[in-house]
């Protein structure tokens, strides 16, 4: 195999080679990213706890539940703790375009219900004691350079203060999460702080609770609790839907549409586009080298070597592209992780992602090289030499 000729052929058209390598790199990068998103979603869903149920309105997640439901559900056998969750939908005053989630929760039941969460800095007791305190994820604190003890102004978009000023929360602690289903970019504060402000006329916004999270006692049959809770509010005033945490997460993701299928379709379209681009390049390269192939055959190189030269060239270009694409992905993995942490806490490259990127590039290289390779093998020496170069 004339390896030197192979490398020289690639280097012989530097612009074309670089453009092809660049196209493959972008495609591999995109495929890796899309795979990281879909596998991140899967990880997030599969990391959901089995001993937590989520109670939401049967109408929609956007319809609040009455506050009184907490007391009514408390006696249901198997429920160990109930934690209110209310979506706040605020913006940090210094970064109005930025997004992160804020939830009003019950401090006394929140941390015991989520053993995946640990306080890395500050004190959860301080948080529990102080009505206007909050705990924030380490990643969020890093993003805005928030310190424990600092007061952060948050502008409400759903819940607005009637004096026109932002809400003020004092950071009492920074948490970290050991689970893919819980991100480190969220702010948790006292639900009661919000409720009192609404009740005293200090703020305006919808009354009620977004969802209730039920922590089940060990050995409890979740289905029994689900049926009991759903049955309890069958006749109103607000019907509820009780689901496992995994199912709730799945429904939340599916509100955006069938994300994995959508991403697979985008990935497939990218693959096809790049495959045809590389195929076109390789067919062009094969045609340009018709005479060279004739010379090689005249010198005694077999049809197989002539074909292998083009297949190997295609593989080389695609492999370089794959390497570059994977490298780009690895470099940008962290920033993407930060950007998507609120939606896909499990986002990240794994071995499968990298193998998928590399495998796709090799497949494109092989398939794109086979067409001109087949033509090269079929060329007669005399016909190839007659070709006007």
């Amino acid at each position: 195999m004339p390896w030197r000729l192979l490398f020289r052929n690639v280097l012989g058209h530097p612009v074309r080679s670089l453009l092809t390598i660049g196209s493959v790199a972008v495609a591999v990068f995109l495929i890796c990213m899309l795979h990281a998103v879909t596998s991140g979603l899967t990880r997030t869903l599969s990391a959901a706890a089995s001993n937590r149920l989520v109670v939401q309105s049967a109408v929609s997640l956007f319809v609040d539940l009455p506050l009184s439901y907490q007391q009514k559900m408390a006696p249901v056998p198997g429920i160990e703790a109930i934690c209110k969750w209310q979506w706040f939908g605020g913006r940090y005053e210094q970064d109005k375009g930025g997004f992160f989630a804020q939830f009003g929760i019950d401090p006394e039941t929140f941390l015991p219900s989520y053993p995946e969460i640990t306080i890395a800095e500050g004190s959860y007791d301080e948080f529990a004691k102080n009505r206007s305190a909050c705990v924030v994820g380490e990643a969020l604190a890093r993003k805005y350079d928030w310190q424990v003890g600092q007061t952060v102004p948050i502008l409400g978009t759903i819940f607005t203060r009637n004096d026109g000023r932002p809400w003020e929360f004092t950071v009492a602690g920074l948490y970290k999460s050991s689970s893919a289903s819980i991100d480190e970019q969220t702010m948790y504060f006292h639900y009661d702080y919000l409720r009192e402000s609404l009740e005293t006329g200090g703020a305006s916004g919808p009354q009620g609770v977004g969802v209730y999270v039920l922590r089940l006692a060990p050995g409890t049959d979740p289905l029994g609790v689900q049926q009991a809770v759903d049955g309890m509010f069958e006749n109103g005033p607000q019907r509820v839907q009780t689901t496992t945490e995994a199912e709730f997460n799945r429904q939340f993701v599916s509100m955006l549409g069938d994300v994995p299928t959508l991403l697979q379709m985008v990935g497939g379209a990218v693959l096809f586009a790049i495959f045809f681009a590389v195929l076109n390049t390789m067919i062009m390269a094969g045609r340009e080298r018709t005479r060279d192939l004739g010379v090689l055959k005249a010198l005694g190189f077999t049809n197989g070597v002539s074909a292998a030269l083009l297949v190997a060239e295609s593989l080389l270009v695609c492999s370089l592209g794959a390497g570059l694409g994977v490298l780009l992905g690895l470099v940008l993995e962290k920033p993407f992780q930060v950007a998507t942490a609120a939606f896909i806490p499990g986002f990240g490259f794994d071995t499968n992602t990298l193998l998928l990127g590399a495998g796709i590039a090799v497949a494109i290289g092989l398939l794109s090289g086979l067409v001109p390779g087949w033509r090269a093998a079929k060329l007669t020496t005399v016909g190839a030499l007659r070709e006007v170069g």
Partner: protein
């Protein structure tokens, strides 16, 4: 041992646009080894076709082409490729050097098919280039060489693996007279000093004057064979 070439009742027909064109018609021709032959004739007389058959680039429709001890009609495509690598060197009118490789690398190409180490290949290619007077142009790409130099690199490539037969198709067709004479001198030297059997297709009577014998083809049949050695008393143009 220098090759003898035996063409026995060879016929070759091409089909173009539904029309059958018999290019070689029951041709019989015997060529001695270590002899420089020029092959002449009008266009379409079958010169290049005969060269391709002798070089194992094409198959005859009928008849036999025997070079040395090998009957080429018995060999399949890969058998012919192996045979070409060992026994024949080609020089083309358009030089046909690979533009991305240097002169040395072009000459090394056929040596990749021989059981040689990298060092041996390099040395053998350099010897061939020295023989054609291009020791100082080894690392130049074809585009950095003149037409005559390119053709000399092509000749070095043809002799690098030390084949018995060198086939040249209009090797001076793209060259000016002075350069053409230098190339023909070189081919003559290869015949006289290294005893290569050379078969050269040409339209140029002056080029044919360098050969020992001139074979004239006409409509796919043998016309006549002129022996320049008898004419000059020495053997071709000196």
């Amino acid at each position: 041992m220098a090759a003898e070439i035996d063409i026995r009742s060879v016929t070759k027909t091409y089909h173009r646009g539904g029309e059958a064109l018999r290019v070689l018609d029951e041709l019989d021709l015997q060529m001695e080894g270590a002899t420089f032959y020029a092959l002449m004739g009008p266009s379409g007389s079958g010169k290049t076709t005969l060269l391709n058959l002798v070089g194992g680039l094409d198959h005859a429709d009928s008849g036999q082409v025997v070079v040395g001890d090998t009957d080429l009609t018995d060999l399949d495509g890969s058998g012919l490729a192996r045979w070409r690598a060992e026994h024949v060197g080609f020089v083309f009118q358009g030089f046909n050097l690979l533009p991305v490789l240097s002169a040395r690398e072009n000459v090394e190409l056929p040596l990749l098919l021989a059981p040689l180490s990298r060092q041996q290949r390099r040395e053998q290619a350099e010897r061939a280039l020295e023989l054609v007077g291009l020791a100082d142009r080894m690392d130049h790409k074809p585009r950095e060489l003149s037409g005559g130099q390119e053709q000399r690199v092509a000749i070095a490539r043809a002799i690098a693996s030390d084949p018995q037969v060198i086939l040249a198709d209009e090797p001076t067709g793209d060259l000016d007279r002075t350069t053409a004479d230098a190339v023909l001198d070189l081919l003559q030297r290869l015949n006289r000093e290294l005893h290569k059997t050379i078969l050269m297709v040409t339209h140029d009577p002056q080029a044919a004057g360098y050969a020992d014998k001139v074979i004239h083809l006409d409509k796919g049949k043998l016309g006549r064979i002129d022996d320049n050695r008898k004419a000059t008393g020495t053997g071709g143009r000196s």
